[in-house]
């Protein structure tokens, strides 16, 4: 099965200069934990609820004046939409992540793939990703 068959395509993204406060509002309203950061149609980062916790709140920065680009993860793990879902599981395992940005071959982001999406198709592939996690609980 290909990644494009199971990924989420209705993905809301955010620009790097948006405030983390606004990012938090979007995550809250949409019940999501991650936003891809897009600049000039290219994916330049990912920001998660945990980034806002550990890199904004924990060190006493203001969410109103801290921009997304200051705390986002710039090293985004991506995959192509026509890759097999087994390759996606392997990428998540080796990078210790639970979500991948999915791009086409023109490097345009076309979706997101989460470990939950994997689980709906293969309990084994998804559980291997969980087993590789580095977080304690």
């Amino acid at each position: 099965m290909k990644i494009k068959d199971i990924m989420s395509t209705n993905v809301v993204s955010i620009s790097p200069t948006t405030s983390t406060k606004e990012a938090a509002h979007i995550m809250h309203d949409l019940h999501i934990g991650v936003l891809p950061v897009i600049d000039n149609n290219e994916i330049v980062g990912m920001i998660t609820d945990r980034d806002i916790c550990c890199k904004v709140i924990a060190i006493g920065r203001g969410a109103g004046w801290t921009k997304v680009e200051e705390v986002m993860t710039k090293d985004v793990t991506t995959c192509f939409d026509d890759q097999d879902i087994t390759a996606a599981s392997n990428l998540m395992m080796s990078n210790h992540v639970r979500r991948l940005a999915v791009t086409d071959h023109n490097n345009t982001m076309v979706g997101l793939l989460s470990v939950d999406d994997l689980a709906r198709n293969s309990h084994d592939l998804a559980s291997c990703v969980l087993e590789a996690a580095t977080q304690q609980h």
Partner: protein, 137 residues
Amino acid sequence: MRVQEIMSTKVETIKPTSSLRATARTLSNLNVGALPVVDDGKLVGIITDRDLSVFAIAIGRDPQSTEVQKVMSKEVYTCNENQDIDEAAQIMKLHNIRRLAVLDEADSISGIISIDDIAHVSHELAGTILEHSQAIH
């Protein structure tokens, strides 16, 4: 298999009066996503990285002056350390959560069991929990 065989037992707790900022620092330093909130030896809530970033910002709370008890989940889902992991998985699935506080005979917190712990021993159970998850990504 029983919950106590696979749960994390080295669980740090925090007080309900801790500030959001101090709690965020603890979550970050310990590399965990959730902390049980304990008052006088009694489990009174649970706080996650998401609660104290996304939720706190969305409702306009100041991280420095807001106490954890204002934003924690007071409805804590628990299981007993002697319960079977199948039952723990059922509770997670039912409530769409990925961790449970584990109580001992005296109703004191003795650990945390996460979906990752379950994945180490059963891909099937962990996959089923994820599959029912409601988050979009």
